[in-house]
Amino acid sequence: MSTVIVGIGNRDRADDGAGPALVDRLAAAGLAGVTLAVAPGDMLSVLDLLDGASMAILVDAMKAGLEAGAVRRLDVSSSPLKGELNAFASTHLIGLGDAIELARTLGRLPPRVILYGVEARDFTQGRGLSGPVQAALPELERQIREDCACTKPH
């Protein structure tokens, strides 16, 4: 059984880098038996990352009108993203929602797919997460480790 964790976003657009930053944390702390990847732009590339995995965890920044740093966990294994969460927000033509549904239609979606959305405050140019998004990462990491049934190495 293999798990892939994909951090989606552009590190050079402030909080859009939340997904990649989370992947960095997991890589630094070590996480055995899990493939870590970053998808900075082309959502079609996410399809290739899902191939052969039994579980995928996708982490992306979102704008859902919540408080900055708020985290939402969505199980999209058997049902598509709800309309309002699937608003077109990609400059690369195929949004994440479409990429997930394309994978599902083509039989390339792993049996279990969890999507974490982190409410962003700031999408301006430049590196670095806003305080609330940075502060949300430890708890997000804990939840993802729980999903993977993984623990930090002793």
Binding site: P40, G41, S45, F88, T91, H92, D98, E101, L102
Partner: protein, 430 residues
């Protein structure tokens, strides 16, 4: 009483960037068409000023996630021109190879994911995949072939980092090239099948008498190099671009419209390249065009999907030709020493000619930059297409008219982020 009808497309789907289309119909006649681009200005030209000439390919690559190679190539050629250096031989061939990768990625994305759903009455590629999964799988495989080229030679698939003024930072190994060639050979049938698929679509009966503009090279279908020529006799060096073309601001767009000073709007992109360079297509691509029933010139913008498919075959053939003959350059780059000067260059981005102008001081710092992307060159022509296209279709209900207008805009594969320096459709009937 004046009868007015307004059709609005507030955000156009399946185009790159943010824009809108406003159409005003008054007394059963098209009164006004405005392609409004409201993607915020991005100020790339301003923040290039003061940066080193070596930084231009990496900065301009960030203008677009779909055609970064085009930006890099126009930038390096302009810089080398300013510094009096000509990059030739194997390095030049590898630049063409990288460009082939971008054309394949970009054309296949547009054909399968963005444009084909229009012709098949689908709202998205997800709907298309539900009915024709094997076709969409083929598209994804083919796009991946392009990704492989860009990833190998560009260092990564998006925003490549391996291009430098004078050449590359690293040249892949012969083994890596051999593996790439095998993957591209496997993609050939998919490319030919794509032409056979799209040629069968139903195309609106619509032709325009365009002035086509593209690069033209004596022996090559153009990517990096050539004179700027048109179907009405223009034939100039890329350095003389500003003598013949002018950018103008229009109130409804954050993108500048570009016009030929002598004759007004013109068309760049696949149809232009194809019409002006037909004889230089790879034999297999030319045969595919003939089999698809395309003549030497195609004036129906809706058939641009077929021409893109033909160009995809060409790009694969050209990539394989380069790989078969690949000589490894002695050094990954030619040393380029800065000097004060002006550099101008044009290359063929997937959606059309892309012109860069730079001025450098003696340390090689950029003191002036001007970037003219294909979409801003095509914007006035898109509006002209729509004016003529809509007139005989005014009897259509708004939602159908809206769909067909969006499709007419998508013929251009517009890249609004690039040109903003995009789309929502509003049709007003009075």
């Amino acid at each position: 009483m004046v009868e007015q009808r307004t059709i609005k497309v507030d955000y156009m789907a399946r185009v790159e960037g943010e824009g809108a289309l406003d159409i005003l119909i008054e007394d059963q006649a098209v009164k006004d068409v405005k392609l409004r681009i409201f993607e915020p200005p991005r100020f790339f030209e301003a923040f290039l000023r003061g940066r080193g000439f070596m930084e231009a390919p990496d900065i301009t690559a960030r203008i677009c996630g779909i055609c970064p190679v085009a930006y890099q190539m126009s930038a390096v050629h302009a810089m080398e021109g300013a510094c009096g250096v000509k990059v030739d031989g194997p390095l030049r061939a590898l630049r063409r190879l990288l460009y082939c990768g971008e054309w394949i990625e970009s054309h296949v994305l547009h054909i399968y994911m963005l444009h084909a759903p229009d012709f098949l009455g689908k709202h998205s590629v997800v709907e298309l995949a539900a009915q024709h999964p094997e076709i969409v799988r083929r598209g994804l495989r083919l796009k991946k072939a392009g990704n492989e080229i860009v990833a190998l030679l560009g260092g990564r698939e998006i925003h490549p980092i391996n291009v430098r003024v004078g050449g590359f930072y690293r040249i892949p190994t012969p083994g890596e090239f051999a593996t790439l060639a095998e993957k591209l050979k496997a993609a050939r049938d998919d490319a030919l099948a794509t032409v056979a698929w799209v040629k069968g679509f139903e195309f609106p009966d619509f032709e325009q008498d365009y002035e086509f503009v593209s690069l033209s090279h004596p022996t090559e279908y153009p990517f990096n190099e050539g004179r700027i020529v048109s179907s009405r006799g223009l034939n100039i060096d890329a350095r003389d671009y500003h003598d013949h073309f002018a950018e103008e601001h229009v109130p409804h767009s954050t993108a500048l419209h570009c016009r030929l000073k002598a004759r007004g709007h013109y068309k760049v992109g696949p149809l232009a390249r194809y019409a002006l360079n037909y004889d230089l297509l790879a034999p297999r691509a030319r045969q595919a065009a003939q089999d698809a029933g395309l003549g030497r010139v195609c004036r129906n913008p809706f058939q641009s999907i077929v021409v893109r498919a033909v160009e995809t075959v060409h790009a694969l053939e050209e990539a394989l030709r380069i790989l078969e003959r690949a000589e490894r350059p002695e050094k990954p780059f030619v040393e380029v020493r800065p000097r004060a000067g002006r550099g101008l260059a044009a290359t063929e981005a997937p959606r059309g000619m892309l012109h860069h102008t730079y001025e450098l001081d003696e340390q090689g710092r950029i003191t002036f930059a001007q970037i003219i992307p294909p979409t801003s060159q095509n914007q006035a022509t898109i509006e002209a297409d729509l004016r003529r296209f809509i007139a005989p279709r005014l009897h259509l209900p708004d939602d159908q008219l809206r769909w067909q207008c969006e499709q007419a805009v998508r013929n251009y594969d517009p890249c609004i982020s690039c040109s903003t320096h995009f789309l929502k459709l509003n049709v007003e009937r009075r």
